[in-house]
Subunit: 198 residues, 2 copies
DNA sequence: AGAGAGTGGTTGACAGTGTAAATTTACAGC
DNA sequence: GCTGTAAATTTACACTGTCAACCACTCTCT
């Protein structure tokens, strides 16, 4: 019997490759990254990754998961600093600013999370990917329960998130008009999207 | 002196190429389209386009402009059907539905308008590209003037547009959660983003 | 009319891509 | 040691965008 890869070795290689690839993808984008460049940096042959990934898109998928993890950590770190006495609306706003800050700090990582062109259909997100979504949903539920805002919490959370995402996306695409900057829009957005009241 | 291309011939060729390329890009995405495929369909050699465009990205740019034009026509066509007696808030909602319908009818054309990965920096939009933006700005100004909503019209128009764009983008990326569909979100969005009142 | 020049378009490279297939290497059990 | 098999590498292929050399043609000037 020959040497066989243990589950652990497989995970280790995948993680190593991701660590190399995430920087490349995040700073250069999908097309500009080549398998050969990744493997050169890892010191293995160009075909080795194909033992651990189906193809380039599959590698990209793994890297996107890594980006979700980064985002999750970022949000988690900030949420921990929220005081327990913070009101639900204020909590929503803090969360919103936190989302936007991540998008501005790591624009390509942010974009990768919503990249869609590459795969049909878009891959389903796992539990870890969804982690940053939960604090927002919780805060929205709390705000509705405390009657600070009214409506279906699940819908309201989507609208809040989508609104911020839209601003970020337009900003990143250079599509904000009339000389408006993202900073001009965020605070009004937080107010409007969180129901227009404090 | 040899025969020289007239301005008209240049425009004609560019338009012909765009007509072929727009369908390809819109249905397959940037990477999946090759110059050779475009030129095969046009019946010319692979290098001919390089007399009229700097490179592939430049072709993509022209095609994006074409997408803006389609969007502009779409919006224009719908706006014309609005009654003059339509109130400003109702007008905003009609416009919003109209934007969303375009995004659903031509998802890739819509995405191309906001594609950013390819160029540094993102190309500046010309007057025609901006056409669909004006009705929204006008409607928002009217709504503010009539005191239906309050705030800076330019900011409010951005927020309205960004909010819808965010929902569309999340929908296209398969990122809506909890089984929510875009249809579940649009009407609540129109209400929230247009100030929460009728 | 003929030569020369300068244009648009084509052909034929070339370097680089993802990855399939063939080949070599490395290890477990005899 | 040897052998069978999995892992890794090497080789090869079809395909990409696009540069450079080339061809064909039209116009100007003698």
């Amino acid at each position: 019997m020959p040497r066989e890869l243990t589950e652990n070795q497989i995970d280790t290689f995948r993680a190593e490759l991701c660590a190399v690839a995430v920087d490349l993808f995040v700073e250069r984008g999908y097309e500009a990254v080549t398998i050969r460049e990744i493997t050169r940096r890892m010191g293995c042959s160009a075909m080795t990754p194909y033992r651990y990934f189906a193809n380039k898109a599959d590698i990209f998928d793994a890297v996107r998961s890594e980006c979700f993890a980064r985002f999750g950590e970022w949000v988690h770190g900030e949420v921990e600093r929220f005081s327990d006495h913070t009101g639900p609306i204020e909590r929503l706003r803090l969360l919103g600013r936190c989302y936007v800050r991540f998008a501005l700090a790591e624009p390509r990582a942010y974009r990768m999370m919503f990249e869609v062109e590459r795969m049909h259909p878009p891959p389903v997100l796992n539990e870890i990917d969804l982690e940053p979504w939960h604090p927002l949903l919780e805060a929205t539920r709390a705000a509705v329960e405390s009657r600070a805002i009214a409506g279906d919490p699940e819908v309201l959370a989507h609208l809040y998130w989508a609104g911020l995402h839209g601003i970020i996306a337009l900003h990143q695409a250079g599509r904000l008009q009339l000389g408006k900057s993202i900073d001009d829009l965020i605070e009004p957005a937080l107010e409007l999207f969180s129901g227009g009241r404090r």
